[in-house]
């Protein structure tokens, strides 16, 4: 998946090929969903936010000017959509009913089960799932600004430059927030061991 391929699909869509948009969705839906999930911590919320991200992209794609890559652009929309959702009173109310101390069950655990696991041992597999739940809870405890840089850098693997494009933070801000987020995660996860 390259930026040039994305650009070609965007151009095709702007020329009238609606199927090009479908291709873009297929190429980026998992990435967008992952970002939304790590931001919001809920499968249904993540799905809804991811859908909303692509709807916003659909509305604006005709006016896309190729000033950044499509990938950076769609990430930007996803992060902003998630931030707005985090601020919404409906989400806050929902969050209050969930306790981070309670063991995660249901769809969250299922999600982690789908992740490729190289460890064949059942014991290791169980430990890995539990570990991932703890990582999720630790990231969920971060403030939104630190959460966004950790998710984009350490989970999605984006560069610092891409993160500055997506979040509109300065380079120094990205560095300092990422450092603080990693430090906080280390302390939280160290205490969980």
């Amino acid at each position: 998946m390259t930026a040039q391929q994305d650009a070609a699909l965007v151009s095709a869509y702007q020329a009238g090929d609606n199927k090009a948009f479908d291709q873009l969705v297929i190429r980026h839906k998992d990435k967008v969903f992952t970002v939304c999930y790590w931001f919001l911590g809920d499968h249904a919320e993540a799905c809804d936010s991811a859908q909303e991200t692509f709807i916003k992209a659909f509305r604006s794609l005709k006016k896309f000017r190729f000033e950044s890559s499509f990938s950076t652009w769609i990430y930007r929309i996803a992060v902003n959509t998630c931030k707005n959702r985090l601020k919404s009173s409906q989400y806050k109310k929902k969050k209050k009913t969930l306790s981070l101390n309670e063991p995660r069950t249901g769809s969250e655990v299922t999600m982690f089960e789908e992740i490729a696991d190289d460890c064949p041992s059942p014991m290791n597999e169980l430990e890995n799932k539990q570990r991932r739940i703890k990582i999720y809870e630790a990231i969920d405890a971060l403030p939104p600004e630190q959460k966004s840089v950790v998710v984009l850098r350490d989970i999605q693997g984006l560069s610092y430059e891409e993160i500055t494009d997506i979040t509109s933070f300065g380079m120094g801000t990205v560095k300092s927030r990422l450092a603080r987020a990693r430090q906080t995660l280390r302390e939280l996860l160290r205490s969980e061991r």
């Binding site: 479908d22 969705v25 297929i26 839906k29 998992d30 990435k31 967008v32 969903f33 992952t34 999930y37 799905c47 991811a50 859908q51 692509f54 709807i55 659909f58 509305r59 999600m111 789908e114 992740i115 490729a116 570990r131 991932r132 990582i135 950790v150 850098r153 350490d154 989970i155 693997g157 610092y160 560095k175 990422l178 450092a179 990693r182 430090q183 995660l185 280390r186 996860l189 160290r190």
Partner: protein, 326 residues
Amino acid sequence: MNCTDVRENLSAYIDDMLDRQMRDLIDAHLSMCKDCREELAAMRALVEELRNTGEMKAPQDFLETLHERLETESFWSRLREFLFVPAQIKIPLEFATISVIGVLIFSLYSIYSPQENLRILSQDSAMKSSVVLEKASQPSSPSISADEDEASEYVQATKQQPIELALILPHKADIGGQGLAEEKEEIPPSAAAMPAQRQKDSEGIDYKAHAAGKAVPDVKAGSSIEKPAAQIQATPKEEKTSEHDLPEIVQKLHELIGLSGGRILSEEPDREGREKRIIFAEIPAVQYKNFIDKVLNLAQVQEPLPEIPGDQEAPVLIRIRLVAEK
């Protein structure tokens, strides 16, 4: 460089985001500090662990669900865009349009409101006719209805008996009305012997007027004049002579009726030969007394006129008969 400074930069060190100089300083410190080396290792492990969480999978029906949402939203988004985009132009324009339409509707409603008709109708509840005119606004031009048959029908409709008013048209009557023209009085026969001022009117008829202490008009032979019981003494300004100056009396009656805010329902010439004319009129109750006073200034009445109830609201019907003096 101390441990605090090093640990603050470990995150950037891991991502190779430090300049050469800073990197060398940290390398030098790490070579001597075990704790910072352990800290660096722990952080690298964390970053590695986060990277290995892997990408999550979106639901399988993600694209289909997206299409459904796009189809639903496209209508509303188009409508929203049509109405409100750009907001700085469309919203003030729409507000101005709504205001103009509201003002137009209000103006039309005010003009054609049924309240105006209701107000007119409510002024005369006793009348059968559905059209009630405000004659007070048209005092000098009373309307004249059709013939006496209609007048009779009108009487039946209003269930009101008209007041009979018989005005005696004197011979060589000094025609006048208070406020309309000069006021004149009839001339006693003895006045013929007195010195008189004579003028001719436009028709060439000698007309003589007399008032106490003033010039006495000549009296034609054969004419008999009686001084009426209710007459107004006045200073004549113009003298006319007429045997029975009917048109002028009728004209003045018309004017009096109009001034009183009434209307003429019918007017018929004499049918029996003896009476000169019949005028059937309607006078507002509040103007009745004033009207009668003015009529009495104009001519003599045969019989005393009845009073009307003080609280009467319905217009008074009057049948004025102009009777030639015997």
